[in-house]
Amino acid sequence: MNLKERQWIIGAVFLLISIIFIGRLAQLQLFSSELAQYAARLTQERELLEPARGLVFDRNGELFLDNKAGYDIFFTPRQCRIGGGMDTLALAQLIDLSPAEINKAIQKAEAYATYRPSTIRKQMPASEFAAIAGELWRFPGIQSRRRSIRTNKSGLASHLLGEYREVDRNDLQTNQDYKLGDYKGKSGLELQWETELKGQKGEKFHLVDVRNDYRQSAQEGELDFLPTPGTNLTLTLDMELQAYGERIMKGKRGSIVAIEPNSGEVLAMISAPSYGTDLLTGRKRGVHYDSLLHDPDKPLFNRTMRATYRPGSIFKMIQGLLALDQGVISTESRIACDRSIIGCHGPHTYDNLGGAIVHSCNPFFHEVMRRMIQPRKSTSVFEEARHELSGWTTAVRRFGLGTNLGGNFPGLRSGSVPDTTLYDKFYGAKRWAYSTIYSISIGEGELLTTPLHMANLAAILANRGHYRTPHVIKSIGEAGKPRGLDSLMNSRVSPELFAPIIYAMNAVTESTEGTAPLAQVPGFKVCGKTGTVQDSEGNHSVFIAFAPAENPQIALSVYVENAGSGGDWAAPIASLMMEKYLTRNVEQSQKEKRILGATYPFPNAKK
């Protein structure tokens, strides 16, 4: 071959390579998206913009839950290395961490990702941050980001409002909306209304450089959108009443639940002892939680909903109403106070229904219940009791006892109204009669109920037979009360039959023989009933009441553990609460002083 012709071969090789290159360029740039997507992932970073969480107000627009400014401190290991490292001890001191804590945080960050920021100090309050912000530049790889901190400034209603804290593994798995490091409601209303409160995150897309620093907005911000703030909640609680209730219950174990009878709106829910929700936010949560958890007073325990007690004498009103309804007694029927069957107290001997309520006569109600479930018409007492009890159980449950009260309170215990199944299981079928189970006639035995149920009972009495399911939500945003929150329920006991009971309940507080003169509120007609529930560590002091008698504005239950008789402690507490709510003021300073001075353990509780 002529050597000159070799130019064509060499030229062909050059051309061939060019064609291969252009083919490869077409493959990469025109026909494959995988690598381009990879490039987009590398260079674009989505920043999630936190929405402001919904605020929580009381019924008068006072703020229960607010968001305050805070800062998270981040650490990016790679940036620190590029920046020449840092004095971790100085940083620890600056952001108030122990040397061990900061070393652990740095190790964790290294293990997570060297080029991405990890949080090393969460929820630093704005005041603290302001003091150190000027120093942070000294530490390469340290950044801060604004993040709001949930705060319950008043420290009130902590049990009800619940906890707002960092998501755990379980939350991340069950809900895609949450990302590591997010916060959410974990209990109480914060959890129940999480969807409404949390709002929607916004997104902002940035172009980042290889050090993952934001450089500019991606695609001119076309993809970005702002966060939608969470919906505000208005509660039915009255903050002033709640605050007062928590104040007078300080140092005691027990609870107060107050309800507006005609609406079912809960006005106050006090579980004592309480704690400030803010103790359980922020970095010292673990320590605080631990000490609260091991406190013998069980401050974390929400007694208003979770504690089930025997109701004691306050149950006698239901017994009286059912007896009238079934016709086993009339208002004038008198029954001898036969203390050989069951213990009693006070100088009465032969009461009618009204008297029996005023004196809280045990033998009277023992006999009333016997007439209901053991009328001695059948040959077998066992069969008869078993047969009659089921009707009684159903009737009692219509007063809300043993039910979930409409289900507005997650975590509310139903308590227990014993039925035939329970006794059959316990004693065996036909192995029990009224004589076996008579202690339930006076609200003892197997009856169990929460303070919320007791307050609801007071509301039923105030309403003469019906109630609206209790609830704490007055409005969600501007939308008003959600439907189905306040269903109308009825005890099916005719309203006229309530008159003698209410008359007697008024006498409990006003007659000279009444068990609760301390429950009086000057200027108002108060109806109430004491209970003194036996307990090995001292009797529980119980009182339910409503006022004013003719046009009830407030119905409530007060339960003070191991304090003594109902009239001594629970009644005056109820009195103060009612006065506070009805007059917005408390004039009974002597009474108030006595209550404020009393703390657990009560000296005369066992009498």
Binding site: I10, L35, D209
Partner: protein, 440 residues
């Protein structure tokens, strides 16, 4: 045409125009790759683009001087030119400064010069000088040995730096040798050697569960197949070859088989024993093998991603985040083609490839139109050198060649290479301008 006709009328404007186009392309893309997507300060001397701007001016100055010097000057000083280059390559091994593991640079304050960039010109001149003076050209064994030596001396010195990329570029001179009469079989042999090399790497890195022997590299299969192929050809000889040639063909078969096996075994053992782990990884990554190190293909993955994200028309000048924000390494020098791909898309990068091909083919045309053997051989050497740079650099960015750091001529940032290539091409332009009054 009179000898005194102005030089500007006689130089090849297509070549010089392409050269200046590539320099401008380089400036734009260096600006984009180094300014972090912010406003470019073209004349700030402390910025990379500012420095490159100065180097472009220097390169144009060098070109101007080269074009007014008589071509005869370059031919007559070839030996001195070459000797000085070799001495500089020796000197850099002694007093050079080490950058990135290679002792390739002379440092003068903030300016560094890389003698190997200039050695290409010296070697091309020397090769042209020797081959144009020798009778019988390259088919004469003595001349072949001499010319191979001319290439190997600077190549060996550069290998000592070490700078494997530039050594490979010297290997590209095989095209010039071929044009001057080197047997085509050598080209075929080189091509076969490449195939064997790739097969060796692939089989050497894959594993096979042999009964009794356990997991072993499957390189044994390759060798067995090659041997079987040799025996097959041996067996086929009586049927296919006329009797008088049979003995010769069989001997050639044996030699080919033996050298193939020795070559493959040599590659395999050096791959296993001599290469450092990161070099081995680079080679495996090129073939898409999983090396168990996610960072092993970091450079090439990011380079390909940058090119790919350009799409058809690219993200626009200063708008390529991959290159502007440091995701691609060496983005203003060896990986400058990424910026072209990302910001100018398929349209821009295919055009660049086209223009390069045009330049290479134009140089072939220039070489072929010479009466002077010297200029023709020099022209082929220039084309070979530029082609190797183009092949390795663009091939690397596109993931078709291993990561070997050599610049894209006229485009990559760096003074030595820019001035070196300008000198290389300018000498050709000057010699070409004089072609009409050269007597054979």
């Amino acid at each position: 045409m009179r000898r005194s006709a102005p030089i500007l009328q006689r130089i090849d404007w297509l070549t010089s125009g392409l050269m200046i186009t590539f320099m401008a392309l380089g400036l734009f893309n260096i600006a984009s790759a180094t300014s972090g997507a912010e406003a470019v300060d073209w004349f700030a001397l402390d910025s990379k683009v500012g420095k490159q701007f100065i180097w472009v001016l220097i390169a144009l100055g060098v070109a101007a001087i080269t074009l007014i010097v008589e071509g005869e000057f370059f031919i007559r000083t070839t030996v001195i030119h070459y000797t000085v280059n070799v001495l500089l390559l020796l000197a850099v091994l002694v007093i050079g400064k080490t950058v990135g593991g290679a002792k390739s640079w002379f440092g003068f304050g903030s300016v560094s010069l890389q003698p190997s960039e200039f050695a290409k010109t010296g070697t091309a001149l020397m090769l042209a000088w020797l081959l144009s003076r020798s009778d019988g050209k390259i088919r004469n064994a003595k001349v072949l040995v001499q010319s191979v030596l001319i290439v190997c001396i600077p190549a060996a010195l550069i290998m000592l730096q070490p700078d494997a990329g530039t050594v490979l570029v010297f290997g590209g001179l095989i095209f010039a040798f071929y044009r001057e009469g080197l047997s085509g079989n050598v080209l075929i042999a080189v091509f076969c050697a490449l195939l064997i090399l790739i097969a060796t790497i692939l089989t050497g890195a894959s594993f096979f569960d042999y009964p009794l022997l356990g997991m072993q590299s499957s390189i044994g299969w390759l060798w067995m197949i090659l041997t079987a192929l040799g025996i097959l050809i041996w067996q086929l000889v009586p049927g296919w070859v006329v009797p008088r040639n049979r003995k010769r063909v069989r001997r050639a078969t044996i030699i080919c088989l033996a050298s193939t096996l020795v070559f493959s075994a040599g590659i395999h053992s050096s791959l296993e024993g001599v290469l450092k782990p990161h070099q081995k990884e680079r080679i495996y990554v090129l073939f898409g093998m999983d090396v168990g190190n996610p960072d092993a293909d970091y450079n090439i993955r990011h380079a390909k991603a940058a090119v790919s994200s350009g799409g058809l028309t690219g993200k626009g000048f200063l708008h390529g985040p991959m290159t502007a924000y440091g995701f691609v390494p060496e983005q203003e020098t060896d990986f400058i083609f990424c910026t072209i791909g990302e910001e100018w898309g398929f349209a821009g990068s295919a055009l660049t490839v086209f223009l390069y091909t045009l330049l290479l083919l134009r140089i072939l045309v220039i070489a072929e139109r010479q009466r002077s053997d010297f200029t023709r051989i020099y022209g082929y050497a220039v084309a070979s050198i530029l082609f190797m740079h183009f092949l390795i650099n663009v091939g690397m960015v596109l993931g078709l060649a291993p990561v070997i750091g050599i610049p894209l001529p006229f485009v990559s940032a760096g003074g030595s290479s820019l001035v070196g290539f300008t000198l290389l091409v300018s000498i050709l332009l000057r010699l070409d301008a004089e072609r009409s009054y050269i007597l054979r």
